[in-house]
Protein backbone atom coordinates (compact mmCIF):
# COMPACT_ATOMS: atom_id res chain seq x y z
CA UNK A 1 0.00 0.00 0.00
CA UNK A 2 2.87 2.33 0.72
CA UNK A 3 4.13 1.76 -2.78
CA UNK A 4 0.73 2.78 -4.07
CA UNK A 5 0.67 5.99 -2.05
CA UNK A 6 4.23 7.06 -2.45
CA UNK A 7 4.94 6.01 -6.01
CA UNK A 8 2.03 4.91 -8.15
CA UNK A 9 -0.55 7.56 -7.25
CA UNK A 10 1.78 10.55 -7.70
CA UNK A 11 2.81 9.12 -11.08
CA UNK A 12 -0.79 8.79 -12.18
CA UNK A 13 -1.53 12.29 -10.92
CA UNK A 14 1.37 13.51 -13.02
CA UNK A 15 -0.04 11.76 -16.06
CA UNK A 16 -3.29 13.67 -15.63
CA UNK A 17 -1.33 16.88 -15.33
CA UNK A 18 0.60 16.21 -18.55
CA UNK A 19 -2.59 15.41 -20.41
CA UNK A 20 -4.27 18.51 -18.99
CA UNK A 21 -1.39 20.78 -19.98
CA UNK A 22 -1.17 19.15 -23.40
CA UNK A 23 -4.86 19.54 -24.14
CA UNK A 24 -4.95 23.11 -22.86
CA UNK A 25 -1.92 24.10 -24.89
CA UNK A 26 -3.24 22.57 -28.10
CA UNK A 27 -6.50 24.38 -27.43
CA UNK A 28 -4.84 27.74 -26.85
CA UNK A 29 -2.21 27.79 -29.63
CA UNK A 30 -4.57 28.17 -32.60
CA UNK A 31 -6.76 30.63 -30.69
CA UNK A 32 -4.00 32.90 -29.48
CA UNK A 33 -2.29 33.08 -32.85
CA UNK A 34 -2.64 36.30 -34.82
CA UNK A 35 -3.82 34.33 -37.86
CA UNK A 36 -7.35 33.00 -37.86
CA UNK A 37 -7.28 29.38 -39.05
CA UNK A 38 -10.79 29.69 -40.46
CA UNK A 39 -9.80 32.56 -42.74
CA UNK A 40 -6.77 30.55 -43.82
CA UNK A 41 -8.95 27.57 -44.67
CA UNK A 42 -11.46 29.71 -46.53
CA UNK A 43 -8.70 31.43 -48.45
CA UNK A 44 -7.48 28.04 -49.55
CA UNK A 45 -10.94 26.83 -50.51
CA UNK A 46 -11.76 29.92 -52.53
CA UNK A 47 -8.32 30.43 -54.02
CA UNK A 48 -9.17 29.19 -57.50
CA UNK A 49 -12.75 30.30 -57.86
CA UNK A 50 -14.83 33.38 -57.65
CA UNK A 51 -17.60 33.35 -55.11
CA UNK A 52 -20.69 35.30 -54.32
CA UNK A 53 -19.80 37.61 -51.38
CA UNK A 54 -23.04 36.66 -49.62
CA UNK A 55 -22.27 32.96 -49.95
CA UNK A 56 -18.75 33.57 -48.71
CA UNK A 57 -20.08 35.35 -45.66
CA UNK A 58 -22.46 32.50 -44.87
CA UNK A 59 -19.68 30.00 -45.39
CA UNK A 60 -17.43 31.88 -42.99
CA UNK A 61 -20.13 32.01 -40.36
CA UNK A 62 -20.93 28.34 -40.78
CA UNK A 63 -17.30 27.39 -40.42
CA UNK A 64 -16.92 29.60 -37.36
CA UNK A 65 -20.00 28.00 -35.85
CA UNK A 66 -18.77 24.52 -36.77
CA UNK A 67 -15.69 25.20 -34.67
CA UNK A 68 -17.67 27.08 -32.08
CA UNK A 69 -15.39 30.04 -32.67
CA UNK A 70 -18.27 32.48 -32.30
CA UNK A 71 -18.52 31.73 -28.57
CA UNK A 72 -16.33 33.00 -25.73
CA UNK A 73 -13.01 31.38 -24.97
CA UNK A 74 -14.27 29.67 -21.80
CA UNK A 75 -17.31 28.22 -23.54
CA UNK A 76 -15.09 26.97 -26.33
CA UNK A 77 -12.76 25.39 -23.83
CA UNK A 78 -15.61 23.51 -22.13
CA UNK A 79 -17.01 22.39 -25.47
CA UNK A 80 -13.53 21.27 -26.51
CA UNK A 81 -13.26 19.02 -23.48
CA UNK A 82 -16.74 17.66 -24.08
CA UNK A 83 -15.84 16.71 -27.63
CA UNK A 84 -12.55 15.15 -26.55
CA UNK A 85 -14.30 13.04 -23.92
CA UNK A 86 -16.29 11.27 -26.60
CA UNK A 87 -13.22 10.99 -28.81
CA UNK A 88 -14.35 13.52 -31.40
CA UNK A 89 -11.54 15.48 -33.04
CA UNK A 90 -13.70 16.91 -35.79
CA UNK A 91 -13.63 16.32 -39.54
CA UNK A 92 -10.55 16.53 -41.70
CA UNK A 93 -10.38 19.39 -44.18
CA UNK A 94 -8.15 17.56 -46.60
CA UNK A 95 -10.50 14.59 -46.85
CA UNK A 96 -13.81 16.12 -45.82
CA UNK A 97 -15.88 14.71 -44.07
CA UNK A 98 -13.69 11.83 -42.95
CA UNK A 99 -13.18 12.18 -39.17
CA UNK A 100 -9.67 12.95 -37.96
CA UNK A 101 -9.74 10.01 -35.56
CA UNK A 102 -10.29 7.63 -38.46
CA UNK A 103 -7.37 9.03 -40.43
CA UNK A 104 -5.04 8.85 -37.46
CA UNK A 105 -6.22 5.36 -36.53
CA UNK A 106 -5.34 4.12 -40.02
CA UNK A 107 -1.82 5.50 -39.78
CA UNK A 108 -1.16 4.65 -36.16
CA UNK A 109 -0.20 0.94 -36.48
CA UNK A 110 2.67 1.90 -38.81
CA UNK A 111 4.07 4.43 -36.39
CA UNK A 112 3.65 2.21 -33.36
CA UNK A 113 5.30 -0.66 -35.20
CA UNK A 114 8.24 1.52 -36.20
CA UNK A 115 8.47 3.06 -32.74
CA UNK A 116 8.33 -0.18 -30.76
CA UNK A 117 10.82 -1.98 -32.99
CA UNK A 118 13.33 0.86 -33.03
CA UNK A 119 13.01 1.53 -29.31
CA UNK A 120 13.63 -2.11 -28.41
CA UNK A 121 16.54 -2.49 -30.82
CA UNK A 122 18.24 0.79 -29.96
CA UNK A 123 17.80 0.41 -26.22
CA UNK A 124 19.15 -3.13 -26.13
CA UNK A 125 22.00 -2.44 -28.53
CA UNK A 126 22.93 0.83 -26.87
CA UNK A 127 22.97 -0.58 -23.33
CA UNK A 128 24.85 -3.72 -24.34
CA UNK A 129 27.46 -2.08 -26.53
CA UNK A 130 27.83 0.85 -24.17
CA UNK A 131 28.47 -1.34 -21.14
CA UNK A 132 30.89 -3.54 -23.06
CA UNK A 133 32.74 -0.52 -24.43
CA UNK A 134 32.82 1.01 -20.96
CA UNK A 135 34.22 -2.14 -19.41
CA UNK A 136 36.74 -2.98 -22.11
CA UNK A 137 37.57 0.67 -22.68
CA UNK A 138 41.14 0.09 -23.76
CA UNK A 139 40.33 -2.36 -26.53
CA UNK A 140 40.71 -1.25 -30.11
CA UNK A 141 37.12 -2.01 -31.19
CA UNK A 142 35.70 -0.10 -28.23
CA UNK A 143 37.64 2.99 -29.15
CA UNK A 144 36.77 2.85 -32.82
CA UNK A 145 33.12 2.37 -32.00
CA UNK A 146 33.14 5.20 -29.54
CA UNK A 147 34.61 7.63 -32.01
CA UNK A 148 31.93 6.66 -34.47
CA UNK A 149 29.23 7.25 -31.89
CA UNK A 150 30.59 10.64 -30.89
CA UNK A 151 30.43 11.74 -34.52
CA UNK A 152 26.92 10.40 -35.09
CA UNK A 153 25.30 11.42 -31.80
CA UNK A 154 24.97 15.20 -32.25
CA UNK A 155 23.74 15.01 -35.85
CA UNK A 156 19.98 15.72 -36.15
CA UNK A 157 17.70 12.83 -37.18
CA UNK A 158 16.76 14.58 -40.36
CA UNK A 159 20.36 14.83 -41.52
CA UNK A 160 21.07 11.19 -40.64
CA UNK A 161 18.05 10.05 -42.61
CA UNK A 162 18.96 12.30 -45.52
CA UNK A 163 22.49 10.94 -45.69
CA UNK A 164 21.10 7.39 -45.61
CA UNK A 165 18.75 8.22 -48.47
CA UNK A 166 21.57 9.78 -50.46
CA UNK A 167 23.78 6.73 -50.04
CA UNK A 168 21.52 3.69 -49.93
CA UNK A 169 18.46 4.79 -51.87
CA UNK A 170 19.71 7.29 -54.45
CA UNK A 171 23.26 6.12 -55.02
CA UNK A 172 23.30 2.36 -54.39
CA UNK A 173 19.55 1.82 -55.00
CA UNK A 174 19.42 -0.98 -52.43
CA UNK A 175 16.22 0.18 -50.78
CA UNK A 176 12.96 1.77 -51.90
CA UNK A 177 11.79 5.19 -50.81
CA UNK A 178 8.02 5.03 -51.03
CA UNK A 179 5.49 3.30 -48.86
CA UNK A 180 5.48 0.71 -46.13
CA UNK A 181 4.75 -2.57 -47.93
CA UNK A 182 3.59 -4.13 -51.16
CA UNK A 183 0.73 -6.50 -51.82
CA UNK A 184 -2.27 -7.32 -49.66
CA UNK A 185 -1.94 -7.39 -45.92
CA UNK A 186 -1.74 -11.03 -44.90
CA UNK A 187 0.32 -13.21 -42.64
CA UNK A 188 2.35 -14.65 -45.46
CA UNK A 189 6.10 -14.49 -45.83
CA UNK A 190 5.76 -12.51 -49.04
CA UNK A 191 3.91 -9.70 -47.35
CA UNK A 192 6.05 -9.71 -44.22
CA UNK A 193 9.24 -9.64 -46.25
CA UNK A 194 8.10 -6.51 -48.10
CA UNK A 195 7.19 -5.06 -44.70
CA UNK A 196 10.73 -5.64 -43.49
CA UNK A 197 12.26 -4.48 -46.75
CA UNK A 198 10.34 -1.20 -46.78
CA UNK A 199 10.72 -0.64 -43.07
CA UNK A 200 14.44 -1.28 -42.92
CA UNK A 201 15.76 2.15 -43.87
CA UNK A 202 13.26 4.18 -41.80
CA UNK A 203 13.98 1.97 -38.81
CA UNK A 204 17.73 2.14 -39.35
CA UNK A 205 17.75 5.93 -39.42
CA UNK A 206 15.95 6.10 -36.06
CA UNK A 207 18.01 3.28 -34.56
CA UNK A 208 21.35 4.94 -35.40
CA UNK A 209 20.61 8.14 -33.49
CA UNK A 210 18.85 6.47 -30.58
CA UNK A 211 21.57 3.83 -30.15
CA UNK A 212 24.29 6.48 -30.11
CA UNK A 213 22.48 8.31 -27.33
CA UNK A 214 21.96 5.13 -25.30
CA UNK A 215 25.55 4.04 -25.91
CA UNK A 216 27.02 7.26 -24.52
CA UNK A 217 24.85 7.06 -21.44
CA UNK A 218 25.58 3.36 -20.86
CA UNK A 219 29.28 3.94 -21.25
CA UNK A 220 29.50 6.74 -18.74
CA UNK A 221 27.33 4.79 -16.27
CA UNK A 222 29.55 1.75 -16.67
CA UNK A 223 32.71 3.80 -16.21
CA UNK A 224 31.38 4.98 -12.85
CA UNK A 225 30.16 1.53 -11.92
CA UNK A 226 33.38 -0.39 -12.58
CA UNK A 227 35.15 1.77 -10.01
CA UNK A 228 32.91 0.19 -7.32
CA UNK A 229 34.31 -2.19 -4.73
CA UNK A 230 32.18 -5.11 -5.78
CA UNK A 231 33.60 -5.07 -9.30
CA UNK A 232 37.16 -5.05 -8.01
CA UNK A 233 36.28 -7.82 -5.60
CA UNK A 234 34.74 -9.90 -8.36
CA UNK A 235 37.83 -9.35 -10.49
CA UNK A 236 40.08 -10.42 -7.63
CA UNK A 237 37.91 -13.46 -7.12
CA UNK A 238 38.55 -14.33 -10.78
CA UNK A 239 34.91 -14.21 -11.79
CA UNK A 240 34.80 -14.42 -15.60
CA UNK A 241 34.80 -10.90 -17.04
CA UNK A 242 31.85 -11.69 -19.27
CA UNK A 243 29.87 -12.55 -16.16
CA UNK A 244 30.97 -9.41 -14.32
CA UNK A 245 29.91 -7.11 -17.10
CA UNK A 246 26.65 -8.77 -18.08
CA UNK A 247 25.35 -9.94 -14.72
CA UNK A 248 26.70 -7.39 -12.29
CA UNK A 249 27.63 -4.13 -13.98
CA UNK A 250 25.03 -4.00 -16.74
CA UNK A 251 22.25 -4.90 -14.32
CA UNK A 252 23.19 -2.03 -12.08
CA UNK A 253 23.30 0.48 -14.90
CA UNK A 254 19.91 -0.70 -16.13
CA UNK A 255 17.86 1.34 -13.64
CA UNK A 256 18.80 4.85 -14.76
CA UNK A 257 18.44 3.60 -18.32
CA UNK A 258 14.83 2.56 -17.70
CA UNK A 259 14.03 5.93 -16.11
CA UNK A 260 15.65 7.68 -18.99
CA UNK A 261 13.77 5.62 -21.56
CA UNK A 262 10.53 7.07 -20.20
CA UNK A 263 11.94 10.57 -20.59
CA UNK A 264 13.42 10.08 -24.05
CA UNK A 265 10.37 8.42 -25.61
CA UNK A 266 9.27 11.82 -26.86
CA UNK A 267 12.57 12.22 -28.68
CA UNK A 268 12.34 8.81 -30.34
CA UNK A 269 8.80 9.64 -31.35
CA UNK A 270 9.95 12.89 -32.92
CA UNK A 271 12.62 10.96 -34.79
CA UNK A 272 9.99 8.55 -36.07
CA UNK A 273 7.81 11.44 -37.31
CA UNK A 274 10.66 12.92 -39.33
CA UNK A 275 11.74 9.56 -40.69
CA UNK A 276 8.25 8.83 -41.91
CA UNK A 277 8.14 12.11 -43.74
CA UNK A 278 11.49 11.50 -45.43
CA UNK A 279 10.81 7.89 -46.38
CA UNK A 280 7.13 8.46 -47.20
CA UNK A 281 6.34 5.77 -44.68
CA UNK A 282 2.56 5.64 -44.24
CA UNK A 283 2.52 6.46 -40.51
CA UNK A 284 1.34 9.40 -38.45
CA UNK A 285 4.35 11.52 -39.42
CA UNK A 286 3.46 11.28 -43.08
CA UNK A 287 -0.18 12.13 -42.39
CA UNK A 288 1.08 15.13 -40.43
CA UNK A 289 3.25 16.21 -43.35
CA UNK A 290 0.33 16.07 -45.76
CA UNK A 291 -1.84 17.91 -43.27
CA UNK A 292 0.72 20.70 -43.07
CA UNK A 293 0.60 21.07 -46.84
CA UNK A 294 -3.18 21.01 -47.03
CA UNK A 295 -3.59 23.35 -44.09
CA UNK A 296 -5.57 20.61 -42.38
CA UNK A 297 -5.54 22.10 -38.88
CA UNK A 298 -7.84 19.51 -37.38
CA UNK A 299 -5.49 16.73 -38.33
CA UNK A 300 -2.43 18.65 -37.08
CA UNK A 301 -4.16 19.36 -33.77
CA UNK A 302 -5.33 15.77 -33.46
CA UNK A 303 -1.84 14.41 -34.03
CA UNK A 304 -0.28 16.90 -31.62
CA UNK A 305 -2.81 15.94 -28.99
CA UNK A 306 -2.44 12.27 -29.64
CA UNK A 307 1.35 12.38 -29.52
CA UNK A 308 1.33 14.20 -26.19
CA UNK A 309 -1.13 11.75 -24.67
CA UNK A 310 0.55 8.75 -26.29
CA UNK A 311 4.05 9.63 -25.17
CA UNK A 312 2.83 10.52 -21.66
CA UNK A 313 0.97 7.23 -21.40
CA UNK A 314 3.94 5.19 -22.59
CA UNK A 315 6.14 7.01 -20.09
CA UNK A 316 3.60 6.27 -17.35
CA UNK A 317 3.57 2.57 -18.23
CA UNK A 318 7.36 2.40 -18.06
CA UNK A 319 7.35 4.19 -14.73
CA UNK A 320 4.70 1.84 -13.37
CA UNK A 321 6.83 -1.13 -14.40
CA UNK A 322 9.81 0.41 -12.66
CA UNK A 323 9.23 -1.21 -9.23
CA UNK A 324 9.65 -4.60 -10.91
CA UNK A 325 13.19 -3.63 -11.85
CA UNK A 326 14.10 -1.71 -8.74
CA UNK A 327 13.60 -3.48 -5.39
CA UNK A 328 14.40 -0.25 -3.57
CA UNK A 329 11.29 1.42 -4.94
CA UNK A 330 9.25 -1.72 -4.29
CA UNK A 331 10.20 -1.96 -0.63
CA UNK A 332 10.22 1.71 0.24
Amino acid sequence: MRLLDSYILPRIAQWFMVVFIGITVTFLIPRLSPINPVDEILARMTAFQTMDPEAFKTMRETTLALYGLDKTLIEQYVAYWQRLMVGDLGPSFGNFPRPVTEIIAAALPWTIGLLVTTTIISWTAGVLLGSLAGYFHSRRWAQVFERLVVVVYPVPYLIIAFVLILIFVAELKWFPLMGGSRGDAALTWEYISTLLYFGFMPALSVVIGATAFRFIMAKSLTTTEIASDYVQYAELAAVPRRKIILFYVARNTMLPQVTDLALSLGLIFEGALITEVLFTYPGVGFVLYNAIYNGDYNVIMGITLLSIIGVATAALLIDLLYPIFDPRVRLR
Binding site: F162, I292, Y297
Partner: protein
Protein backbone atom coordinates in the same frame (compact mmCIF):
# COMPACT_ATOMS: atom_id res chain seq x y z
CA UNK B 1 39.14 31.86 -18.04
CA UNK B 2 42.26 31.79 -20.21
CA UNK B 3 43.90 29.06 -18.17
CA UNK B 4 40.74 27.02 -18.54
CA UNK B 5 40.81 27.34 -22.30
CA UNK B 6 44.54 26.67 -22.39
CA UNK B 7 44.11 23.56 -20.27
CA UNK B 8 41.29 22.40 -22.47
CA UNK B 9 43.46 22.79 -25.53
CA UNK B 10 46.31 21.00 -23.90
CA UNK B 11 44.53 18.02 -22.41
CA UNK B 12 41.45 17.45 -24.50
CA UNK B 13 41.90 16.37 -28.11
CA UNK B 14 38.14 16.50 -28.60
CA UNK B 15 38.08 20.14 -27.54
CA UNK B 16 40.95 20.85 -29.90
CA UNK B 17 39.28 19.09 -32.78
CA UNK B 18 35.92 20.65 -31.99
CA UNK B 19 37.28 24.18 -31.94
CA UNK B 20 39.06 23.54 -35.23
CA UNK B 21 35.77 22.60 -36.85
CA UNK B 22 34.06 25.59 -35.28
CA UNK B 23 36.80 27.79 -36.67
CA UNK B 24 35.66 26.64 -40.11
CA UNK B 25 32.07 27.54 -39.22
CA UNK B 26 33.25 30.90 -37.89
CA UNK B 27 35.06 31.50 -41.17
CA UNK B 28 31.78 30.94 -43.03
CA UNK B 29 30.09 33.32 -40.64
CA UNK B 30 32.67 36.04 -41.26
CA UNK B 31 32.62 35.45 -45.01
CA UNK B 32 28.87 36.02 -45.08
CA UNK B 33 29.55 39.69 -44.29
CA UNK B 34 31.82 39.98 -47.32
CA UNK B 35 29.52 38.25 -49.74
CA UNK B 36 29.24 39.66 -53.23
CA UNK B 37 25.48 39.09 -53.01
CA UNK B 38 22.78 40.81 -51.01
CA UNK B 39 21.26 38.32 -48.49
CA UNK B 40 17.75 39.37 -49.49
CA UNK B 41 18.36 38.96 -53.22
CA UNK B 42 20.23 35.73 -53.75
CA UNK B 43 17.99 34.22 -56.39
CA UNK B 44 18.32 34.49 -60.16
CA UNK B 45 21.81 35.90 -59.90
CA UNK B 46 23.78 33.14 -61.59
CA UNK B 47 23.16 30.38 -64.12
CA UNK B 48 20.95 27.61 -62.75
CA UNK B 49 21.94 24.04 -61.87
CA UNK B 50 25.65 24.38 -62.49
CA UNK B 51 27.83 21.67 -60.98
CA UNK B 52 30.78 22.74 -58.80
CA UNK B 53 33.39 24.52 -60.90
CA UNK B 54 36.09 27.17 -60.59
CA UNK B 55 33.49 29.94 -60.77
CA UNK B 56 31.03 28.41 -58.35
CA UNK B 57 33.01 26.19 -56.00
CA UNK B 58 29.91 24.44 -54.62
CA UNK B 59 27.80 24.80 -57.74
CA UNK B 60 24.53 26.69 -58.14
CA UNK B 61 20.95 25.86 -57.19
CA UNK B 62 17.82 25.48 -59.28
CA UNK B 63 16.82 28.98 -58.24
CA UNK B 64 20.01 30.53 -59.55
CA UNK B 65 21.79 30.92 -56.23
CA UNK B 66 25.49 30.46 -55.69
CA UNK B 67 25.56 27.52 -53.24
CA UNK B 68 28.73 28.62 -51.48
CA UNK B 69 27.59 32.15 -50.70
CA UNK B 70 24.08 31.03 -49.88
CA UNK B 71 25.64 28.61 -47.44
CA UNK B 72 27.52 31.39 -45.66
CA UNK B 73 24.20 33.18 -45.10
CA UNK B 74 22.58 29.91 -44.10
CA UNK B 75 25.22 29.31 -41.44
CA UNK B 76 24.76 32.83 -40.16
CA UNK B 77 20.98 32.63 -40.03
CA UNK B 78 20.92 29.20 -38.42
CA UNK B 79 23.38 30.42 -35.80
CA UNK B 80 21.26 33.53 -35.23
CA UNK B 81 18.21 31.36 -34.61
CA UNK B 82 20.20 29.18 -32.24
CA UNK B 83 21.66 32.11 -30.31
CA UNK B 84 18.21 33.61 -29.76
CA UNK B 85 16.79 30.23 -28.75
CA UNK B 86 19.67 29.48 -26.40
CA UNK B 87 19.58 32.90 -24.71
CA UNK B 88 15.84 32.67 -24.08
CA UNK B 89 15.76 28.98 -23.16
CA UNK B 90 18.76 29.09 -20.84
CA UNK B 91 17.62 32.43 -19.42
CA UNK B 92 14.31 30.97 -18.30
CA UNK B 93 16.01 27.72 -17.29
CA UNK B 94 18.69 29.32 -15.12
CA UNK B 95 16.26 31.70 -13.40
CA UNK B 96 13.63 29.05 -12.65
CA UNK B 97 16.22 26.46 -11.65
CA UNK B 98 17.96 28.84 -9.28
CA UNK B 99 14.69 30.09 -7.78
CA UNK B 100 13.54 26.50 -7.25
CA UNK B 101 16.84 25.48 -5.76
CA UNK B 102 17.16 28.42 -3.37
CA UNK B 103 13.54 28.82 -2.29
CA UNK B 104 12.67 25.16 -2.00
CA UNK B 105 9.38 24.39 -0.23
CA UNK B 106 6.04 24.69 -1.96
CA UNK B 107 7.32 26.81 -4.82
CA UNK B 108 9.88 24.14 -5.60
CA UNK B 109 7.37 21.31 -5.41
CA UNK B 110 4.87 23.05 -7.68
CA UNK B 111 7.59 24.03 -10.14
CA UNK B 112 9.02 20.55 -10.22
CA UNK B 113 5.73 18.85 -10.93
CA UNK B 114 5.03 21.32 -13.74
CA UNK B 115 8.52 20.81 -15.16
CA UNK B 116 8.28 17.03 -14.91
CA UNK B 117 5.10 17.20 -16.94
CA UNK B 118 6.54 19.55 -19.54
CA UNK B 119 9.60 17.35 -20.07
CA UNK B 120 7.42 14.41 -21.12
CA UNK B 121 5.54 16.44 -23.75
CA UNK B 122 7.08 15.91 -27.21
CA UNK B 123 8.01 19.34 -28.49
CA UNK B 124 8.20 18.77 -32.20
CA UNK B 125 4.45 18.22 -32.80
CA UNK B 126 3.79 21.35 -30.75
CA UNK B 127 6.28 23.34 -32.83
CA UNK B 128 4.74 21.94 -36.00
CA UNK B 129 1.29 23.03 -34.86
CA UNK B 130 2.52 26.54 -34.08
CA UNK B 131 4.55 26.67 -37.29
CA UNK B 132 1.61 25.50 -39.37
CA UNK B 133 -0.64 28.20 -37.95
CA UNK B 134 1.92 30.98 -38.22
CA UNK B 135 3.13 29.80 -41.59
CA UNK B 136 4.85 32.47 -43.60
CA UNK B 137 4.98 34.90 -40.71
CA UNK B 138 7.64 32.92 -38.87
CA UNK B 139 10.87 34.88 -39.39
CA UNK B 140 14.24 33.64 -38.21
CA UNK B 141 13.87 35.80 -35.10
CA UNK B 142 10.44 34.57 -34.11
CA UNK B 143 11.53 31.00 -34.84
CA UNK B 144 14.43 31.49 -32.43
CA UNK B 145 12.11 32.87 -29.76
CA UNK B 146 9.70 29.98 -30.28
CA UNK B 147 12.40 27.33 -29.93
CA UNK B 148 13.75 29.09 -26.84
CA UNK B 149 10.34 29.15 -25.20
CA UNK B 150 10.08 25.38 -25.56
CA UNK B 151 13.58 24.48 -24.40
CA UNK B 152 14.00 25.44 -20.77
CA UNK B 153 12.43 22.64 -18.74
CA UNK B 154 15.27 20.14 -18.75
CA UNK B 155 18.05 22.71 -18.19
CA UNK B 156 16.19 24.26 -15.26
CA UNK B 157 16.03 20.83 -13.64
CA UNK B 158 19.78 20.48 -13.93
CA UNK B 159 20.46 23.94 -12.48
CA UNK B 160 18.17 23.18 -9.59
CA UNK B 161 20.11 19.99 -8.86
CA UNK B 162 23.35 21.98 -8.96
CA UNK B 163 22.03 24.62 -6.56
CA UNK B 164 20.69 21.98 -4.20
CA UNK B 165 24.09 20.35 -4.00
CA UNK B 166 25.93 23.67 -3.67
CA UNK B 167 23.64 24.75 -0.84
CA UNK B 168 24.73 21.79 1.25
CA UNK B 169 28.47 22.24 0.72
CA UNK B 170 30.63 23.20 3.67
CA UNK B 171 31.84 26.45 2.15
CA UNK B 172 28.25 27.67 1.85
CA UNK B 173 27.68 27.00 5.54
CA UNK B 174 30.94 28.74 6.36
CA UNK B 175 29.91 31.75 4.31
CA UNK B 176 26.49 31.86 5.96
CA UNK B 177 27.97 31.63 9.47
CA UNK B 178 30.54 34.30 8.76
CA UNK B 179 27.70 36.66 7.90
CA UNK B 180 28.00 36.88 4.14
CA UNK B 181 24.84 38.21 2.52
CA UNK B 182 22.78 35.83 0.44
CA UNK B 183 23.27 37.83 -2.75
CA UNK B 184 27.00 37.78 -2.22
CA UNK B 185 27.02 34.03 -1.63
CA UNK B 186 25.04 33.43 -4.80
CA UNK B 187 27.15 35.73 -6.95
CA UNK B 188 30.61 35.19 -5.50
CA UNK B 189 30.51 31.61 -4.26
CA UNK B 190 27.96 29.75 -6.34
CA UNK B 191 28.03 31.40 -9.74
CA UNK B 192 31.60 30.28 -10.50
CA UNK B 193 30.34 26.70 -10.15
CA UNK B 194 27.29 27.31 -12.28
CA UNK B 195 29.04 29.01 -15.19
CA UNK B 196 30.96 25.97 -16.50
CA UNK B 197 27.73 23.97 -16.41
CA UNK B 198 26.02 26.80 -18.21
CA UNK B 199 28.65 26.58 -20.95
CA UNK B 200 28.14 22.86 -21.49
CA UNK B 201 24.40 23.40 -21.36
CA UNK B 202 24.50 26.26 -23.85
CA UNK B 203 26.17 23.90 -26.30
CA UNK B 204 23.48 21.27 -25.93
CA UNK B 205 20.98 24.06 -26.50
CA UNK B 206 22.74 24.87 -29.77
CA UNK B 207 22.51 21.23 -30.85
CA UNK B 208 18.79 21.15 -30.09
CA UNK B 209 17.93 24.38 -31.87
CA UNK B 210 19.99 23.57 -34.95
CA UNK B 211 18.17 20.23 -35.17
CA UNK B 212 14.76 21.84 -34.75
CA UNK B 213 15.52 24.61 -37.23
CA UNK B 214 16.57 22.11 -39.88
CA UNK B 215 13.49 19.99 -39.24
CA UNK B 216 10.94 22.81 -39.24
CA UNK B 217 12.42 24.43 -42.33
CA UNK B 218 12.51 21.09 -44.10
CA UNK B 219 8.80 20.72 -43.43
CA UNK B 220 8.34 24.13 -45.01
CA UNK B 221 7.19 25.77 -41.80
CA UNK B 222 9.82 28.48 -41.47
CA UNK B 223 10.28 31.55 -43.64
CA UNK B 224 11.46 29.89 -46.83
CA UNK B 225 12.89 33.06 -48.32
CA UNK B 226 15.67 33.56 -45.81
CA UNK B 227 18.49 31.08 -46.39
CA UNK B 228 19.12 28.72 -43.47
CA UNK B 229 20.57 25.22 -43.42
CA UNK B 230 17.02 23.84 -43.26
CA UNK B 231 15.61 25.94 -46.09
CA UNK B 232 18.56 25.05 -48.33
CA UNK B 233 17.71 21.39 -47.82
CA UNK B 234 14.02 22.22 -48.35
CA UNK B 235 14.62 23.86 -51.73
CA UNK B 236 17.09 21.20 -52.77
CA UNK B 237 14.46 18.64 -52.01
CA UNK B 238 11.71 20.75 -53.61
CA UNK B 239 13.55 20.60 -56.93
CA UNK B 240 14.16 16.86 -56.49
CA UNK B 241 17.91 17.34 -56.48
CA UNK B 242 18.64 13.80 -55.30
CA UNK B 243 16.82 12.17 -58.17
CA UNK B 244 18.11 14.32 -60.98
CA UNK B 245 21.70 14.03 -59.83
CA UNK B 246 22.24 17.55 -58.48
CA UNK B 247 23.39 16.35 -55.10
CA UNK B 248 25.81 19.24 -54.59
CA UNK B 249 22.83 21.42 -53.70
CA UNK B 250 22.14 19.14 -50.73
CA UNK B 251 25.63 18.06 -49.76
CA UNK B 252 26.77 21.62 -48.96
CA UNK B 253 24.11 22.34 -46.30
CA UNK B 254 24.35 18.79 -44.93
CA UNK B 255 28.10 19.08 -44.46
CA UNK B 256 27.68 22.55 -42.95
CA UNK B 257 25.09 21.22 -40.49
CA UNK B 258 27.28 18.28 -39.51
CA UNK B 259 30.28 20.58 -39.01
CA UNK B 260 28.26 22.87 -36.79
CA UNK B 261 26.81 20.21 -34.50
CA UNK B 262 29.99 18.18 -34.41
CA UNK B 263 32.13 21.19 -33.56
CA UNK B 264 29.82 22.23 -30.75
CA UNK B 265 29.44 18.71 -29.44
CA UNK B 266 33.15 17.90 -29.38
CA UNK B 267 33.76 21.14 -27.50
CA UNK B 268 31.14 20.21 -24.94
CA UNK B 269 32.70 16.75 -24.60
CA UNK B 270 36.01 18.38 -23.81
CA UNK B 271 34.30 20.74 -21.41
CA UNK B 272 32.42 18.07 -19.47
CA UNK B 273 35.62 16.06 -19.26
CA UNK B 274 37.19 19.14 -17.78
CA UNK B 275 34.36 19.40 -15.26
CA UNK B 276 34.70 15.77 -14.18
CA UNK B 277 36.60 15.82 -10.86
CA UNK B 278 38.25 12.45 -11.51
CA UNK B 279 39.68 13.65 -14.80
CA UNK B 280 40.73 16.90 -13.17
CA UNK B 281 42.89 14.91 -10.79
CA UNK B 282 44.62 13.26 -13.72
CA UNK B 283 45.26 16.67 -15.19
CA UNK B 284 46.64 18.10 -11.96
CA UNK B 285 49.06 15.24 -11.51
CA UNK B 286 50.07 15.67 -15.12
CA UNK B 287 50.87 19.29 -14.46
CA UNK B 288 52.73 18.61 -11.19
CA UNK B 289 54.80 15.60 -12.17
CA UNK B 290 56.25 16.43 -15.58
CA UNK B 291 55.32 13.38 -17.59
CA UNK B 292 52.99 11.62 -15.21
CA UNK B 293 50.47 10.84 -17.93
CA UNK B 294 53.09 9.44 -20.21
CA UNK B 295 53.55 6.22 -18.27
CA UNK B 296 50.22 4.93 -19.51
CA UNK B 297 49.78 6.20 -23.03
CA UNK B 298 46.85 3.89 -23.61
CA UNK B 299 44.92 5.51 -20.79
CA UNK B 300 45.46 8.96 -22.20
CA UNK B 301 44.30 7.88 -25.61
CA UNK B 302 41.28 6.23 -24.14
CA UNK B 303 40.19 9.37 -22.36
CA UNK B 304 40.53 11.40 -25.48
CA UNK B 305 37.03 11.16 -26.81
CA UNK B 306 35.22 10.04 -23.71
CA UNK B 307 32.01 12.01 -23.29
Amino acid sequence: MFTTIRDLFKFSPSFRFGSLILLLVAAMLVLSFFSPYDPGKLRRKVKRNQPPSADFIFGTTSQGEDVFWTMTFAVRNTLTISVIAVVIGRGIGVILGMLSGYFGGTFDRVMQSIIESIIVIPRLPLLILIGAILRGSLTIYSLGILIGLLDWAFPSKRYRAQILSLRERDFTHTAVFSGMSTVKIVVREHLPFIIPFLLADVISGFLFSIGIEVTLSYLGLANLDSPTIGTMIYWGNYYQSIWVGRTWVLIAPIVAAICMVLGFYLMSVGLSEYLDPRKRLVRLTARAGDEADNDDPRKEKDDAWAP
